[in-house]
């Protein structure tokens, strides 16, 4: 590769070095020179629409936007003078007059709004043109996010985010002139959109109060919040979270742009479901007395648990855990005689292989053909789905989807087989599509382990083997449960069907560690016979954060901490060890899973 040419230019009298192809803004920022911006965001393609970053190139009569103008070698750039200041101020006046930017009751008031900050920065005490006071609607129909057109400055940061980060292109701009507006799909509300995934990346990108989180609105100014970086533990991707808190409450969750995995992006599960969904926390230990769960002290609850455990022989005791537990719990779990981990269907084989896919996200980013086999990233690993969509839509890779169930990825696929065909014609078409792939990637999920999945896999292997040239595809295993691979590698047996496992050795004591499973572990009861089998066990202890049908049939319920109260590490599907940081102190009397398990063992 040829190294880019070095260029030198003078910005505000200072000699600045950069590379050919960099914009004026990039070189200025790298040299600590601040130019006001509104529509610019570092991780998005430049737009040059707001005209706040205008600068002068000496010798040229025009002003140019610094964010989208390639830096001219050897030239002199002026970023600050009276006429530029005047032009920027006029731009702000136009923006303020165009819609209803009434700060006193805006969700972004007092510091979070970039438009307001620019107003302060440019000494804007009043504007010299009349306000238009247009009538714009507010769309509150979205589950988590809301769109207030009154606050919109049409910077298109949301539109570019939707296209370049989430890859759904739900948002765009419609109409012309003063009627220009952000539009959802072809003019529907967020609630009616069938492409919006509620990832919330647009909210994080919005410089004003136009796009905001309903749950975060008026909870406090982000500038005065504490921030903690932690890892999302809802799926095996392990995205970086930047959590804003105030007075021991979560105010907002944004993606962490320093995360090597997600680079600032999140899905609805990681960004909203963990804190914006109403869930009933268990706040103190409960013991069943006369058929009813009664609150007790930790000492009393642990005494009941230990006594019940003592009464049972080693063979009659078992622990059944959630795959959400941290790496640090493995050693503690191994002290128990019989341990199982409940995983999703067909996931046990994936766990057994312990296939890690180093740099999977980077490989997906650079791929020119992506094959998705037996995985549902749109539902289970949203950020992987976003990566696939952007690679296909923005970077024009081919997408082939083999899955028995429909997903939103189907619409972006060149070949999509919901029903696997055995026809030779079909497979020769697949072969044709993959013929020229130079950086193919095969993403496979739990259902690749089913007989149908294996049959498709064999066909694909054959296609790649008989290809004349080109490398074999990079393989990316995509489990659905958060830390299942690590726990399985640590010797915890993955169990797809709990019923037979319980029935194999009749138990007297069972501790179910549901941790912060959103459903409290209740999905175990969806399996046939499990309820009846659990009812036969003398003592069922449920260690969980949330109330559920499962806690309803426990003899003892022990309150566990949730994602934002946990400390430790998890290992993601790429094999990266990622930190879990405690964002808040445990609520009520909740304790960390490991601490509870240790106490039970005593």
């Amino acid at each position: 590769m040829i190294a880019p040419k070095k260029i030198t230019l003078t910005i505000d009298g200072r000699k600045c070095e950069g590379q050919d192809g960099q914009t004026i803004l990039q070189i200025a920022q790298a040299n600590g020179i601040s130019i006001p911006t509104l529509c610019y965001l570092k991780h998005l393609s430049p737009w040059g629409g707001c005209r706040m970053c205008i600068v002068q190139i000496a010798g040229s009569p025009k002003v140019v936007p610094a964010c989208s103008t390639p830096a001219p070698d050897g030239k002199e750039i002026i970023t600050q003078n009276e006429s530029l200041q005047k032009l920027r101020r006029s731009t702000l006046e136009l923006l303020f007059s165009e819609r209803n930017h009434i700060c006193p009751f805006c969700v972004m008031n007092k510091g979070d709004c970039e438009l307001q900050q620019q107003g302060y920065r440019h000494g804007l005490d009043a504007i010299s043109i009349p306000y238009l006071y247009p009538a714009w609607p507010v769309d509150l129909s979205g589950k988590y996010l809301a769109l207030d057109h009154n606050r919109c400055i049409l910077c298109t940061r949301c539109v570019r985010t939707c296209e370049e980060m989430e890859g759904t292109h739900t948002l765009d701009i419609s109409n012309r002139g003063a009627k220009n507006r952000v539009v959802v799909d072809l003019g529907v509300t967020f609630g009616a959109s069938d492409t919006c995934t509620s990832c919330g990346a647009c909210v994080a990108a919005c410089p004003t109060g136009a796009l905001f989180d309903k749950a975060a609105a008026f909870r406090g100014k982000l500038g005065t919040c504490q921030t903690v970086r932690t890892t999302c533990n809802e799926c095996p991707v392990g995205c970086g979270l930047l959590v804003y808190t105030k007075e021991n409450r979560i105010v907002e969750v944004f993606g962490d742009f320093d995360s090597p995995v997600s680079q600032g992006h999140l899905c609805a599960r990681g960004r909203y479901e963990t804190w914006a969904e109403p869930r009933r926390r268990i706040l103190q230990p409960l013991v069943r007395k006369h058929g009813k769960l009664e609150p007790v002290t930790w000492d009393e609850a642990l005494k009941v648990v230990r006594q019940a455990a003592k009464k049972a022989t080693a063979a009659q005791k078992a622990v059944l855990v959630s795959p959400r537990l941290s790496n640090e719990t493995v050693a503690t779990l191994k002290k128990f005689e019989r341990i199982g981990m409940f995983v999703a269907s067909n996931e046990a084989a994936l766990c057994a292989n312990n296939d890690r896919s180093p740099d999977a996200m980077a490989k997906l980013h650079d791929a020119d053909a992506i094959i998705v086999l037996g995985a549902q990233p749109s539902q289970a690993q949203g950020v992987v789905a976003a990566k696939i969509r952007t690679t296909v839509r923005v970077r024009k890779a081919k997408l082939l989807v083999f899955h028995t169930r429909k997903s939103d990825l189907d619409r972006y696929a060149t070949i999509c087989a919901n029903v696997v065909s055995l026809e030779r014609k079909f497979w020769s078409r697949v072969g044709e599509e993959l013929k020229d792939a130079r950086r193919p990637v095969l993403v496979y999920g739990p259902e690749a382990m089913t007989p149908i999945g294996v049959a498709v896999l064999e066909r694909l292997v054959k296609i790649f083997e008989t290809r004349n040239a080109g490398p074999a595809p990079a393989l990316i295993a995509l489990p659905t449960s958060p830390n299942s691979l690590t726990l399985a590698a640590g010797g915890i047996e993955p169990i797809e069907e709990v019923g037979p496992w319980l029935d194999a050795k009749p138990l007297k004591f069972l501790q179910i560690v549901a941790s912060d499973e959103p459903d409290g572990g209740a999905r175990l009861l969806d399996e046939k016979y499990v309820r009846a089998l659990l009812e036969e066990i003398e003592c069922v202890v449920v260690q969980a954060a949330y109330e559920s049908r499962l806690t309803g049939l426990a003899r003892v319920v022990l309150p566990a901490t949730i994602w934002c109260e946990k400390k430790g590490t998890v290992t993601n599907f790429e094999g990266r060890e990622l930190p879990l940081q405690a964002v808040l102190p445990p609520r009520g009397e909740a304790r960390p899973d490991r601490e509870i398990l240790e106490a039970v063992l005593k």
């Binding site: 006071y133 009538a135 714009w136």
Partner: protein, 185 residues
């Protein structure tokens, strides 16, 4: 000190309260002990605080609120005619702010919603007596009607900001806003 004070004639000030919530006047009263210092230098004539209604010739006129009805407009124009320096105090006077929210609707819709369709109203009646000021079709910030010399933004402006503007004017300077004294919270 006292001798020099009485040498200098006091600066005459009038304040008016148009379409606003009086929060800006409250913020003015938040000058607290500085009010004692202020009245040594200025004479507050007509004002909602003094309850003097007739506006005499003054040096400084201070306006809170937007122009919502014909009386607001009359008061504003009278003050402008009687003062040398006019100050727009707070966001309603400067941007229209909350009162201007009704600009998104037709006037008939607004009065119907307020006097007839309100959930707590059984038999509604739109006031029509000639003594009730007539609402303007559109709420306007004051600089759309008269020349404004100084803007003190904020909802409401901080007492410190008001103090800064007044002391600058008393010192014979026009207040120059910087990021620091515009952004207060």
């Amino acid at each position: 000190m006292k001798a020099t004070m009485s040498d200098k004639p006091k600066v005459k000030v009038a304040t008016v309260w148009l379409g606003g919530c009086s929060g800006c006047h409250m913020s003015f009263l938040d000058l607290d002990e500085r009010l004692v210092e202020l009245v040594k230098l200025v004479d507050i004539t007509a004002s909602p605080i003094t309850d003097v209604k007739e506006i005499p010739d003054v040096d400084v006129g201070i306006v809170e609120g937007a122009v919502c009805n014909d009386e607001n407009e009359h008061v504003l124009r009278t003050l402008r005619a009687h003062c040398k320096v006019l100050i727009a105090l707070g966001d309603c006077a400067i941007t229209g702010n909350i009162p201007a929210l009704r600009n998104q609707f037709k006037l008939e819709e607004v009065v119907a919603r307020g006097f007839v369709e309100t959930e707590s109203t059984q038999v509604g009646d739109i006031p029509a007596a000639p003594v009730v000021p007539a609402l303007l079709n559109r709420v306007r910030p004051i600089q759309e009607l008269v020349k404004v010399d100084v803007h003190i933004p904020g909802c409401p402006p901080d007492a410190d900001t008001i103090w800064f503007a007044l002391t600058e004017l008393l010192a014979g300077r026009m207040p120059k806003w910087t990021e620091k004294n515009l952004c207060y919270d």
